[in-house]
């Protein structure tokens, strides 16, 4: 069976001129490879500046990789071919509140990807928007609202709605659950798991909450300063971390797995 998403030898360094320390180039991500099947979740953990968001940006094509390539269903993804990519790989950002255009209503925000990527009529689009809003726990009447009228957690749901409305195959969640309230968060986790079951979605979950990582992911990858320290089955890795850095992460969260 071929993997849904295959990443080989992917790396990124940022070229800078005169930021703080006048460094010429920052290796944000050293070459790494992995693959994901449908119905599976890969978690990526690591501290700030470990390159998690960089990896996410490379996968959605928001940045051009320095080396390496990405294959979806065996097909190479070209940088710059947004149409091909944005239908199949969607991303929910860390600070999604700020990525929503404040001058558009929710309806307009959700309509945009539909108009660009599908041939649905206006009526069908509206119906789909309503359904999607309900799927993420919002109301149809929210369509006429502007982003500033929502709380942080609700904005996150709008981002999720925007991500799933095109029925993608891979969704990247960059700390997307961090800003949510616990009760919304567990609703969202249930929702994401349901969607995974229904639509065969693969998730890449970037999160620092190991509780969620344990519950949600099949495999996990530990990043530190742009390097992969450990990859493995989530349960195994959490139970038996090999690297000092991973142990520290686990300690930091007062995190204990039950002995069974």
């Amino acid at each position: 069976m071929t993997s849904l998403l295959q990443v080989s030898n992917l790396s990124k360094s940022y070229k800078l001129n005169g930021f703080w320390f006048n460094r010429k180039s920052i290796p944000a991500l050293e070459p790494l490879s992995f693959d994901i099947q449908a119905y599976k979740t890969l978690a990526i953990v690591g501290e700030t500046a470990s390159g998690k968001s960089t990896l996410a940006k490379l996968l959605v094509g928001a940045e051009k990789p320095t080396t390496g390539n990405i294959k979806l269903n065996g097909q190479m993804l070209q940088h710059g071919n947004f149409k091909q990519r944005c239908q199949h790989i969607r991303m929910i950002f860390q600070d999604s509140g700020t990525t929503l255009n404040p001058s558009l209503t929710i309806q307009q925000l959700l309509d945009e990807p539909l108009r660009l990527n599908t041939d649905l009529t206006e009526l069908e689009r509206n119906k789909l928007i309503q359904e999607t809003l309900q799927k993420v726990g919002l109301l149809g009447e929210h369509m006429s609202f502007y982003p500033h009228m929502f709380s942080g957690g609700q904005k996150q749901r709008i981002s999720l709605a925007r991500a799933i409305i095109l029925k993608p195959q891979v969704i990247i969640l960059d700390e997307a659950l961090a800003a949510l309230d616990p009760s919304l968060r567990s609703q969202m986790i249930n929702l994401l798991l349901d969607l995974q079951q229904q639509m065969g979605l693969a998730y890449i979950l970037i999160s620092h909450n190991l509780g969620i990582v344990r519950h949600f992911s099949d495999k996990m990858m530990v990043l530190c300063k742009g390097r992969v320290l450990e990859v493995g089955d989530t349960q195994q890795l959490l139970k038996n971390p090999q690297h000092k850095y991973t142990k520290k992460l686990i300690m930091n969260q007062h995190f204990k797995l039950p002995n069974n």
Partner: protein, 329 residues
Amino acid sequence: MNILDIRNLSIKLLTSTTPILAVDRVSLAMKEGEVRGLVGESGSGKSLLAQAIVGVLDDKWQVDADRFHWRGIDLMRLSVDERKKVISKDVAMIFQEPMACLDPTTTIGAQLEEAVDDEQLTGYFWQRKQQRKLAAANLLHKVGIKHHEVCTKSYPHQLTEALCQRVMIAMALAKRPILLIADEPTAAMESTNQNQIFRLLASLNQLKNMSILLISHDLENVTHWTNTITVMYSGQFVEAGTTQHIFNKPYHPYTRALVDSSPKANMQIPMKSRLMTLPGSIPILQHLPIGCRLGPRCPKAQKACVQAPKVKNYHGHQVSCHYSLKGSY
């Protein structure tokens, strides 16, 4: 003794039609040296309450309280300006969005120097500039920023969120507050940074006996750092008590749901299984249910719940529910 004693504080949003009761009779008391968590979902009025305490709400909002004492002074009897003066001397607040609160056009150093209290400067006026610089550097060291030179010369947008948050804390400390109100100081930070900020706050609490009101939407996040917790929902008081009680034996169905919904507190459930959660979401201000506002989402709701419940006190563990879970333990 309670340094802060608030009883039945209400905050109304004045609109062109009827005013909306955004915060409905919430009580809150803080002892000296206490670290209290104020927990509730987004939109439950935590920030409003905090802003009402420090008096920074604009005149769209109307604040009433049965009792509002700060260190024995009855604040409700003072004029708005006098109240602000008393509070701003002793209470500092870290706001939710650090980036938005720092002036983007001024360097961090200049902003910090401005925050330094004149009373702390002892020298002649020609020495003051230097003293201010020193004080600013000291403050940065205190919040764990070692290379203060880099930081003071930067503009806010050049720093990461976590660094900005530290700078905000440093500014709050410049006043040497008795009470620090920290509104979601670590939202959206990674765990290592979160822990650093929490540890910093904990050490300030221990060394300076500074009381801290720690606002968070995430119950599991604050349990390690607080002595007591107050829970709010949709502008109403839910439950207050020691952290132990709240986390291990919550009396209120809402708190119970918060604890049950946390994947970290529920390690024994199989992976990818459904997490327990309340249906629906928090009501918007324009459509608040009458009586207990949890009613439409509450698994235990009955007819009586259309009347707002009274707060019951069991040995300092207060709960506001007609059908509390006290009997179930």
